[in-house]
Point group: C2
Chain length 158, copies 2
């Protein structure tokens, strides 16, 4: 078997995503308990609500992709009432993402899947969407923290 040059390997893309998820975890931790559930800017969602969106995407999406199981997007899971509850869910999702990632052959990234019965795109585009959507919402969390007078973690900390 010869090795062909790749833009990025499957392993490195998972490391990249989990690095971002590790930074998002630090942002959750940086919020005061009350502000995590109550604070926002400009009528936007709280960081707890944004985190619920991220939890409804990452692990359930990877599971759906690997099992080719088209299930509707569901953000109504109860993630608990404390930051500690959300962090525990976050860590559980970390393990699930690693598990399902390992089951997805590299050949499948270019295949189309109808994620949540709504997003019919190549799997790689769905994966980039998970990462970009998280970076996007986390960037909003940075503004919330700054507006609260709290120094966010460095962007390059993973």
């Amino acid at each position: 078997m010869t090795t062909t040059a790749q833009v990025i390997s499957k392993e490195d893309l998972l490391k990249h995503w989990q690095g971002h998820r590790s930074l998002t975890r630090k942002v959750i931790e940086a919020f005061p308990e009350k502000d995590f559930f109550e604070f926002s800017v400009g009528g936007m969602r709280t960081f707890a609500e944004l985190t619920s969106e991220l939890l409804a995407i990452g692990a359930p999406a990877m599971k759906g992709i690997v099992n080719r199981e088209v299930k509707p997007y569901d953000e109504n899971t109860d993630n608990g009432k404390t930051k500690a509850d959300y962090l525990a869910k976050w860590d559980k999702a970390t393990e699930e993402i690693n598990h399902y990632w390992g089951l997805l052959p590299v050949e499948d990234f270019s295949k189309t899947f109808n994620l949540f019965g709504q997003y019919e795109f190549p799997i790689i585009e769905n994966v980039f969407y998970f990462i970009d959507n998280e970076v996007h919402h986390r960037g909003q969390g940075y503004v919330y923290l700054r507006a609260l007078g709290i120094e966010p973690p460095f962007f390059w900390e993973r």
Copy 2:
């Protein structure tokens, strides 16, 4: 020549990045002229300043990578005094990024380069940083727009 499965091709990664850049362009356009240069939340930088950072990274970074030319990061370029000036710089950078991307062999993405004499990482990690950093700051721009009572473009518009 046999084709080996790839997580993403070089062409698709450029399309992905330029799709993000197209969305950032729409966010610049969405700001009222004055607010682009003056508005911010929580003592953060204005969206004009954030855009200057993005302009100081994208095209200059790709040029540095392709030419293996280690030049310090320089955000002091005069990008003009109007949104139209910034948009013209943005479009020029779009062409430059396409140009230099075409000159970078896929074999080089795993090679290390000391970007701006500061960030010694595999080139793919630097490229992901350009994209993620843009998504991060653009997410902040979304909060500025919401705080101004302006509806931002849809995140999936590219």
